[in-house]
């Protein structure tokens, strides 16, 4: 394990050095990508070894670490997240080798290469942190490197603004995390997680609740839980696409990791209302996330909103787990947490894949606006195929991975009937309904995303002259597409492994008797049985048989290609196609209360007759009203305070000297009398 760890760290460091010294050349870019890819694979291997062996990997042997206050230890749960980092990191860095070529001469490839490797390195250490200080320092390092990566394309419109929002939100969360750790460790931040675990039982209920709320705020701001999500749809789309994949696939999952670490591992679970709050936040994030995604016609922003949605689904599984945990229904609790973790790695793979696919489209057409795309399936067949796999997976279509984990989330919610108190149990069917609505809307949204982007006729000259992506980019996408298929077909490997990861956390039992290495996926007390593997086999068999039978019965195999039926009009133009806006229109009407669309219509008539229209201008926008309601007053307050503080900042050195002296005197006086 130590070897793998050393390989991981040194590969990332070499990648950074390569970026520093020859970031601009093709060889340099190759070395950067190779460093990141090798580091990711070694990290993934380390995670797999720790999970399969069940032995945590501690770096206690090195002498100098205790002196610096740094403590590193990789347990099963950390190892699982390390696997997630490795999977997406590897695919994204291979992809990045091809993708970053376009940046040569425009943006700093040196910064991009260094920061990419540094981000992956901090993520690796993040899941190993074993005391509050290490955790917090790495958390801040992760946020800052992510910020640098977000603002790579700094001269584009909106990039810097997105970066500022990201920094502000992540630091608000960071403050909450510091407060939380101070509470947990009774103000000594170098206390190890092990002694925090022992100490957390001694905390008063009020302090425990405060820790819960601070954790939910701090980690929620990182994960993009609604209403703390505002930065996410701004920051993720403007980053380079392979970085977007890492940000959406991995970095926001660190919030999930933190929540699990604190709530389940260190606090050992809590009262039922904690689970209820997590479940509620998850359901709201899932539903609103997908509803806003539906209205989005910027391909990458659409995907970013779907990250909010999927974080919501993960939280629903975890929330159900926490509720069961509080009632002592441990097997069901394990099911809830397993479903959340399973969805975590699934979302990492398909969202990573979709962001890479969107990056390829952006690379080929230079636009993120779906209304200017179309017909790309013929020009970019491979990208289209990979994107289709991702789209089907995120829409939870069987037999891909999204279905397997969403099925488990459904099953853990259905387990709600075992909760003894009806007033709590009644929450579960509502959550089931919200989850079902979310997944239905997600399917609608991805019909739009794939259909408008890749099918029909190109809607702009850029789309017409698009080109297929270079090989490294295709390889990165292929890797994640395979992961989507493999994770979907092999829940009989993933689910028992996740069961092992969770054993002992918060008193969760060994569940290998329930979630065994079995072709069939079985939920506790045989509530439901399903086998995605056999479903896939069955589908393939039927799919092969149908044409054979048709041949046998002599169906007509002739095929003629002609124009689409244009109601008598000859010649079809892209203007006749359905647009993304039109596609989403019925749902916009259905949910008008939420969107509150504004509409402006101005028609120029011919001066002689109003029966002849010269031009029509139509503009419609949706109002993010609850963001305005929430952040409007906050921003107003911050601006007001900034204006007040500005009066003190005269710029004159004399004034500053006075401030320093006065402050010092006051401090001395306080010290004297206290």
């Amino acid at each position: 394990m130590l070897t793998l760890f050393i390989v991981t760290v040194s590969a990332y460091v070499l990648g950074m050095l390569a970026a520093l010294f020859s970031g601009r050349s093709a060889i340099g870019r190759g070395l950067v990508a190779a460093g990141a890819a090798v580091g990711s694979i070694a990290g993934l291997a380390l995670g797999v070894v720790v999970i399969t062996s069940g032995i945590p990997f501690a770096l206690a042997s090195t002498r100098f670490l205790p002196l610096t206050g740094v403590a590193l230890r990789l347990d099963g749960m950390g190892a699982f997240f390390l696997v997630v980092v490795g999977l997406v990191g590897c695919a994204a860095s291979i992809y990045g080798f091809g993708y970053s070529a376009q940046y040569a001469g425009r943006y700093s490839l040196r910064t991009l290469g260094v920061m990419l490797n540094l981000l992956l390195l901090t993520l690796t250490f993040q899941v190993m942190a074993d005391n509050a200080l290490t955790f917090l320092v790495l958390w801040e390092a992760m946020s800052l490197t992510a910020y640098w990566l977000v603002v790579t394309e700094h001269d584009q419109r909106g990039t810097v603004r997105a970066g500022v929002w990201y920094l502000a939100m992540t630091h608000a969360g960071f403050a909450a995390l510091i407060a939380m750790f101070l509470l947990l460790s009774s103000t000594d931040l170098t206390t190890s997680f092990a002694s925090m675990r022992a100490g957390s039982a001694l905390l008063s209920p009020a302090a425990r609740n405060a820790v819960f709320l601070l954790a939910l705020f701090g980690f929620g701001a990182k994960s993009g839980i609604i209403p703390l999500h505002v930065w996410l749809p701004m920051a993720h789309p403007v980053a380079p696409s392979h970085v977007s994949a890492i940000l959406s696939g991995v970095v926001i999952k660190m919030g999930i990791y933190g929540l699990l670490r604190i709530l389940l591992d260190i606090m050992g679970g809590g009262p039922a209302w904690w689970g209820g709050v997590v479940l509620g936040a998850g359901a709201v994030s899932a539903l609103l996330g997908v509803l806003y995604a539906l209205m989005e016609h910027d391909l990458k922003r659409l995907l970013a909103y779907h990250s909010v949605e999927n974080i919501g689904i993960i939280l629903m599984g975890m929330g159900a787990g926490l509720i069961f945990h509080s009632y002592g229904l441990m097997t069901l609790a394990a099911l809830g947490f397993i479903s959340g973790l399973y969805h975590t790695i699934n979302h990492a793979s398909f969202k990573g894949l979709l962001f890479l696919g969107a990056g390829s489209v952006l690379h080929a057409t230079r636009t993120r606006n779906m209304e200017e795309m179309g017909g790309l399936i013929k020009i970019m067949p491979w990208t289209a195929l990979f994107f289709l796999v991702g789209a089907a997976a995120i829409s939870a279509l069987p037999p891909l991975n999204g279905f397997a984990s969403e099925w488990l989330v459904f099953q853990s919610l259905l387990g709600g009937s075992n909760i003894p108190t009806p007033e709590v149990a009644i929450v579960m069917p509502i959550a089931v309904g919200m989850l079902a609505l979310t997944s239905g809307l997600a399917a609608a949204c991805f019909v739009k995303a794939f259909g408008i982007t890749f099918l029909a006729i190109p809607r702009s000259p850029e789309a017409e002259h698009a080109h297929e992506s270079p090989r490294p980019m295709l390889a990165g996408m292929a890797l994640l597409a395979l992961a989507c298929i493999a994770l979907g077909l092999a829940p009989f490997v993933v689910v028992p492994a996740l069961g092992r990861v969770l054993v002992g956390l918060g008193g969760l039992p060994d569940t290998h008797a329930v979630f065994s290495f079995n072709l069939y996926l079985v939920t506790p007390s045989n509530f439901a049985i399903m086998s995605p593997t056999l479903v896939a086999l069955g589908l393939l068999a039927v799919l092969g048989l149908v044409p054979l039978v048709m041949l046998l019965f002599r169906a007509n195999w002739r095929l003629r290609v002609g124009d689409s039926w244009g109601c008598g009009r000859v010649g079809q133009t892209p203007r006749m196609e359905y647009t993304a806006t039109a596609f989403a229109e019925p749902l916009r009407r259905v949910f008008a209360e939420l969107y509150r669309p504004t509409k402006e219509l101005s028609i120029d008539f011919h001066p002689d007759s109003k029966y002849f229209v010269q031009s029509i201008e139509y503009r419609s926008e949706i109002t993010p009203w609850f963001e305005k309601a929430l952040y409007g007053p906050l921003l107003w307050f911050i601006r007001l305070s900034a204006a007040t503080v500005r009066r003190m900042q005269s710029g004159s050195v004399h004034m500053y000297l006075v401030y320093v002296t006065v402050a010092l005197l006051i401090l001395l006086l306080i010290a004297r009398w206290s």
Partner: protein, 313 residues
């Protein structure tokens, strides 16, 4: 072993019955409206004719357009292997449960909507957009109905649900069951493109949903899609009749029991078909933007169904 043969036989029965069911509902409807109506066997002749015609596809269409009919047909056919049509429980019951059935049907809808967008015509896009809207808002009701059924039976696997209702016949008239039936019935109308959500017998752009998506299909592709649509109707019908009133489903694999089960199934489907035909002659199509209200009603019914099973446990 005989279980596996029965499974395949059951799928073949479904394949054979599906066009007849469509034709039968149409015929009943015509009779109720005082028309002589086309013979109930017309859909079989239609399928034969379509399989023998050549295919014309749009020059904008991609491989996806040509692949979709096969996928839609296969995924729908795969569902018939999973649901208890004539006997329960069958060996394939372990492969998938009610949730899988719903998502396999969604798989077909997803690809059909993509195929609607592929030729680049406005009709196809309109159909795709509307179909996905209806499918998305029908989804919560389906999930909740499943929840309600699963609560009663202690499982989401269909064979177990049938067995449990057979063992406890009183459950069939519990409020949870009745409300769940009503909810699923409304959703069935939406999901299979019947009135008042969609009109299966028109090609008017203002009213159509399903037909608009398939407008560019012809020949064997159209045959596969029409047949799949018939299968879909049969699947929803049999879910309704066999989940809520499972009497007649064979629990032993003797030829006599199976023969009886097929006859009972056909008469149950015919009865439900009559009910749908009756309903379709009595109501007009809803405006598209009124459809969500209807589906909201079904959602509330399903929620009440689950709540009452919680409280009456």
């Amino acid at each position: 072993m005989s279980g596996y043969f029965l499974e395949i036989g059951q799928a073949l029965v479904a394949l054979a019955l599906a066009p007849g069911l469509v034709g039968f509902v149409r015929w009943w409807k015509a009779r109720l409206q005082g028309r002589r109506g086309a013979p109930p066997l017309l859909p079989y002749y239609d399928l034969r004719k379509l399989f023998l015609k050549e295919v014309i596809i749009s020059n904008n269409a991609s491989w996806l357009f040509r692949f979709t009919p096969y996928l839609v047909f296969s995924s729908t056919l795969a569902v018939t292997l999973l649901i208890p049509l004539v006997a329960a429980p069958l060996p394939f019951d372990r492969i998938g449960d009610l949730l899988l059935v719903v998502y396999l049907l969604l798989l077909g809808t997803f690809f059909l909507a993509l195929a609607g967008l592929d030729p680049g015509t406005a009709f196809g896009g309109m159909g795709a957009s509307r179909e996905m809207t209806v499918a998305a808002i029908a989804e919560p009701t389906i999930a909740l109905s499943i929840f309600g059924l699963a609560l009663g039976a202690g499982s989401t696997n269909l064979g177990r649900i049938v067995e449990q209702t057979l063992a406890h016949p009183g459950a069939a008239i519990s409020p949870g069951h009745l409300l769940g039936f009503a909810a699923l019935f409304i959703v069935m109308l939406a999901e299979t493109g019947r009135l008042p959500v969609d009109n299966p017998s028109t090609h008017l752009e203002l009213t159509m949903i399903h037909e608009a998506m398939t407008l560019e299909y012809s020949g064997r592709y159209l045959a596969l899609i029409e047949w799949a649509a018939g299968l879909r109707l049969l699947i929803f019908f049999s879910l309704l009749v066999n989940m809520f009133t499972p009497w007649g489903v064979a629990t032993s694999l003797t030829p006599a029991a199976l023969g009886l089960a097929v006859i009972v199934l056909i008469s149950k489907l015919a009865a439900l078909g009559l009910l749908v035909a009756l309903l379709e002659t009595r109501i007009a199509k809803l405006r598209l933007f009124r459809v969500p209200e209807l589906l909201a009603v079904s959602f509330v019914l399903a929620l009440l169904a689950v709540t009452s099973s919680f409280l009456l446990r």
